[in-house]
């Protein structure tokens, strides 16, 4: 079974909020880059598929060489078999606001893929569109918000998708299939020290967007240019007056709070 898992390098949110140049990508710092937290469950789902049915997991990451090198090695240390870097040097940006993203990712050169897996969203742009975009480019079915996976003996999967107020469950026989995995679907494993050391020495495959098969770079660029981030800033927060009680030096703190809430018709 061939499984592709797409992973994205994001700037650690704690670092992004304190250094907008990192968040904007005008400055790059390897130490600030982490694997998108939502992709950890996607990797885990891919590894569980491989362990259940035997096969190969390829991680694909689009971005700068520095960023994809770091996170692909993280993925390898977890048990992923191969890493493919796709550099977006041909573009100023390839954002998740544009359908061009899926068009490019779908061209990752891996043969006979059974499952394409993504995380539910990326922690930096919170878009949750990548899986749909890839599925449309490949013209295959897509199951998203997958919160539970049952591995059947005939290599079909019974998947439960959970939404805000509803749940869908069904057995999917068709392949290839694109899945996007919720971050509550499983508990990601941790790498061993030895695996980490081995991953450091591994060789990654590298492609430029223009190297990918059957790609119309000019068209992709035209589509990508229709959506651009023009500003990224800290949100204004209205400072709030907090009415504070302290239970440590006021034994009536709770009843005072309740009285205040009742007075203001909050309770």
């Amino acid at each position: 079974m061939n499984i592709v898992v797409y992973i994205k390098a994001v700037v650690d949110p704690d670092k992004a909020k304190n250094d907008l140049d990192l968040a904007k990508g005008t400055k790059e710092d390897k130490l600030a880059l982490i694997i998108n937290p939502y992709d950890k469950q996607a990797i885990e789902a891919a590894l569980q598929l491989k362990e259940k049915y035997t096969g190969k997991v390829t991680a694909v990451s689009l971005g700068s060489d520095l960023a994809t090198d770091k996170i692909l090695r993280d993925a390898l240390s977890l048990g992923v078999d191969e890493g493919i870097q796709i550099s977006n040097d041909d573009f100023e940006s390839l954002s998740s606001y544009s359908p061009a993203l899926g068009t490019v990712l779908a061209k990752a050169p891996v043969d006979d893929v059974d499952y394409y897996i993504t995380g539910r969203e990326a922690g930096d742009d919170n878009q949750s569109i990548t899986g749909a975009s890839i599925a449309a480019a490949l013209d295959v079915d897509f199951v998203d918000n997958v919160d539970e996976v049952e591995y059947n003996d005939d290599e079909t999967l019974t998947l439960t998708s959970r939404w805000d107020k509803s749940e869908l469950k069904g057995t999917y026989k068709q392949k290839p299939l694109v899945l996007s995995i919720k971050d509550t679907a499983n508990t990601p494993r941790l790498p061993s020290f030895k695996a980490k050391m081995q991953a450091k020495k591994a060789t990654l495959k590298h492609f430029k967007v223009s190297d990918l098969p059957d790609i119309d770079v000019a068209r992709i660029k035209a589509i990508a240019d229709r959506a651009t981030t023009i500003n990224l800033a800290k949100p204004e927060v209205a400072s709030k007056e907090t009415v504070l009680f302290n239970l440590n030096d006021d034994e009536n703190a709770v009843s005072e709070l309740v009285a205040d809430l009742k007075k203001h018709s909050i309770l």
């Binding site: 359908p99 959506a227 651009t228």
Partner: protein
């Protein structure tokens, strides 16, 4: 640019859902024609929606998908893509929710349209549309510029202030039979996980939520007793769910629910953005935390510095009611 019309897409026939969309359209695009595109299989709801929206939109298209009686995102996505295939560069709005974002993503991908989810404040600037969106779960705010010479799909957050809707439109109603072929897994089941009749995180006026500061499953479970007394729904932070003290359906935040109760009690919750993004629309926030520097106090209207368990117990024994 075929954007004299704005398309309002709903995956439910709920009038509240439709009104929220109309309000966004009216507030931000008052000069555009509005066309409502509805998937709803329940005939009563269709009639109800027709009555309620009469004269407030320019057109309603009811999309019927034969063989589909619940909203499957793949089938809906295909049906909407087929519907929009012949519209030149459509501007499409849905209300933001997990489910709608998933449908929106499919529509945008199928139409090669730009997409931004969970946006606010769309404004037209020449041939561009500029929208605001939270980045890094709310740590940062982003503005995205979208060229209206291409299709655009947006999921929009509800407006904070009410807007008066027009009442003088001649609404043209059409029933459209979608030709999309319904392919679902043979054993597919669809379940509604929240029942509007029961008290839950979506409809409760009071929510009592607990975090890691409650220390144990037993500590967390005391919230249920408090919930009963206060007529409140119980919510949880992520570590509570990850530790197995509560079901994931109780989780509030980026990976869980966004809620809008009248009052939200946070017991032993630190207040990271991934959690607080889910309580932005709570009218009043009450934080109980032993650490006076906990970030949650910055957002709170009321707070008690102290042991969360002790506060829960006092609230239970004093039988505080709502």
């Amino acid at each position: 640019m075929g954007q004299d019309t704005i398309y309002l897409v709903t995956t439910t026939g709920d009038t509240a859902d439709v009104e929220a969309l109309q309000a966004v359209a009216q507030a931000n695009f008052p000069e555009k024609q509005t066309r409502l595109v509805v998937f709803e299989s329940n005939a009563d709801k269709v009639e109800n929606l027709k009555t309620k929206t009469a004269n407030t939109v320019d057109a309603i298209d009811f999309l019927a998908i034969s063989g589909l009686d619940y909203p499957d995102p793949n089938v809906l996505g295909k049906a909407f893509v087929a519907y929009f295939k012949n519209v030149d560069t459509p501007l499409i709005l849905l209300n933001s929710s997990r489910f709608n974002n998933a449908v929106a993503a499919r529509i945008a991908a199928g139409l090669t349209a730009s997409i931004v989810t969970d946006i606010e404040q769309p404004t037209i600037d020449g041939t561009n549309l500029i929208v605001s969106k939270k980045g890094y779960s709310g740590e940062l705010k982003r503005q995205v510029q979208l060229d209206m010479n291409g299709g655009i799909v947006l999921t929009v957050n509800p407006l904070k202030d009410p807007v008066k809707l027009p009442t003088d439109k001649d609404t043209v109603v059409q029933n459209i039979a979608s030709e999309v072929v319904v392919t679902l897994p043979e054993d597919a089941t669809y379940t509604l996980t929240t029942n509007d009749q029961d008290l839950n995180l979506d409809n409760a006026e009071v929510v009592v939520a607990g975090g890691r500061g409650l220390k144990s499953e037993a500590g967390f479970k005391e919230l249920y007793q408090l919930g009963k007394i206060m007529n409140a729904a119980v919510g949880a932070s992520r570590p509570v769910v990850d530790s197995g003290w509560a079901d994931s359906s109780l989780m509030i935040g980026q990976s869980g629910k966004s809620i809008s109760p009248k009052v939200y009690f946070a017991f032993g919750i630190s207040g990271t953005v991934q959690h607080t993004i889910g309580i932005e629309n709570a009218k009043c926030i009450v934080a109980i935390n032993s650490d006076k520097d906990a970030p949650i106090f910055k957002l709170a209207d009321y707070g008690i510095i102290g042991d969360a368990k002790a506060v829960i117990q006092q609230l239970v024994t004093s039988k505080v009611s709502n």
